[in-house]
């Protein structure tokens, strides 16, 4: 008996991981703001900037409960480090 699979084959290719930075000072950090707890995210942005000496760029998602738009992901990927999730 022949049946058809209900799923797509698993993806085999994955993006190569970036090299981990040795220190945070002077590097570019993308802070993906999930547009939920704005005061908390602002506080985190200040701490990251003041304590690490990194250049922090805040990228704001349109919604905290929907995926980031592709352009925002590309923007975050251009940094050395990206903070992509903040637990509440």
């Amino acid at each position: 008996m022949e049946l058809l699979s209900p799923v797509w084959p698993a993806a085999t290719a994955s993006r190569p991981a970036k090299t981990r930075p040795r220190a945070l000072s002077g590097i570019r950090i993308a802070l993906v703001d999930d547009n939920l707890d704005i005061p908390f995210t602002t506080h985190l942005e200040t701490l990251l900037t003041e304590r690490t000496g990194a250049k922090v760029r805040r990228l704001v998602k349109p919604s905290g409960t929907a995926p980031s738009p592709p352009a925002l992901l590309d923007d975050a990927a251009a940094s050395d480090v990206a903070v992509v999730g903040i637990g509440l």
Partner: protein, 357 residues
């Protein structure tokens, strides 16, 4: 017919069912076997190219091609004539307004309900009367399950993985009703939402399981109990607004209409009266308070409500139009309220059922 799905060779039904369990391709129940003959009949009923994709199903992004949807529809027990309903439901769920990605992964227990409207509901045997949210009707069960299996196999939000719902509800197996349109004094849901009279459509709305409302009497008495049921402090909507579905039974609807109440009148009354004092809402705790402030800071909670005054009466939706009303169920004492996810998504989307490409 050119199909691209992997072929699986099995000896018999038992081996097939166990294979689908082993590979995690079913929801916990056995399936109807997706043979090539059954799948081709399903695709033929859609009059669409098997490789046409309706979009990527979140969170893992598997394309919802007609072929893959047909395979999952067979597994769920659909007949070919059910398939256009499954397609329309998937199209509606993939609209950004519904935020399917969030619905499938939230810790909240909402599940996307499929509401079928139009002559097709009666023609295909969808239940809209006694036991409407329950079992016993192939169309409700098979279409509801086909949609869930497609989300399972193409989107891949599994409860041990990225489906973070901490409780969920039984509608995750199948959650599909039809609106009662014959024993109903008002325009049906899909016509209210812009579809032509006599057309077929589905509306999807992510909501909790039905909350029973002992609802019988004069319009004022029915509204009294409905408003109380809609603003229980456990609902997300009380804290961050959102949308709510109210299911009135045909006897309720008849009594309202006989006394001159339109659906718009009811919706407006419910919006005005299903409210809680800020002091009561604040007593729920600081986490609830934080969510409300978060929504206010993000511009999603209207500033017209004074959140510093404990006597402010907070609504459960931003507007009366966020209260959806359908007529369904048995002529009885019982209505139902199905609160949504709050302001985060799962909002109602209506899509016409198309009978050709």
């Amino acid at each position: 017919m050119d199909l691209v799905s992997e072929r699986l060779n099995v000896e018999d039904y038992d081996e097939a069912v166990e294979l689908f369990y082993e590979r995690g391709w079913t929801d916990g129940l056995p399936i109807v076997l997706p043979t090539r003959r059954r799948v081709e009949a399903m695709i033929a009923a859609s009059l669409r190219d098997p490789q046409h994709s309706l979009g990527a199903v979140p969170p893992k992004g598997g394309p919802a091609t007609i072929e893959k949807l047909a395979i999952n529809a067979v597994m769920g027990g659909c007949l070919p004539e059910h398939f256009p309903v499954v397609i329309a439901a998937m199209q509606a769920m993939l609209e950004p307004t519904h935020n399917l990605n969030g619905v499938l992964q939230t810790t909240h227990m909402c599940v996307s309900l499929v509401i079928v409207n139009g002559p097709i509901a009666r023609r295909l045997g969808f239940n809209s009367r006694d036991g409407v949210f329950g079992n016993g009707y192939r169309a409700n069960a098979a279409v509801g399950r086909a949609v869930r299996l497609a989300l399972w196999n193409l989107g891949g939000a599994f409860p041990w993985d990225t489906d973070k719902s901490t409780l969920s509800h039984p509608g995750e197996y199948a959650f599909c009703i039809a609106e009662e349109e014959e024993d109903n004094p008002w325009r049906p849901l899909h016509v209210e939402r812009g579809c032509p009279d006599g057309s077929d459509a589905v509306t999807v709305f992510a909501c909790e399981a039905p909350h029973s409302v002992f609802c019988y009497g004069t319009p004022e008495e029915m509204l009294h109990v409905l408003t109380d049921s809609m603003c229980a402090l456990g609902n997300n909507n009380v804290h961050v607004l959102g949308q709510t579905l109210v299911t009135l039974n045909p006897l309720n609807a008849e009594e309202f209409a006989r006394r001159g109440w339109s659906k718009a009148d009811i919706r407006h009354y419910l919006w005005e009266h299903a409210r809680r004092r800020l002091a009561d809402v604040r007593a729920c705790g600081v986490v609830h308070e934080q969510f409300r402030k978060m929504e206010r800071d993000a511009g999603r909670y209207p500033h017209r409500y004074d959140l510093d005054n404990p006597t402010t009466r907070l609504p459960v939706t931003a507007t009366p139009d966020d209260i959806h009303i359908v007529v369904a169920g048995g002529r009885s004492y019982f209505a139902a309220v199905l609160p949504g996810w709050g302001g985060f998504g799962g909002f109602a989307v209506t899509r016409r059922i198309e009978w050709s490409s």
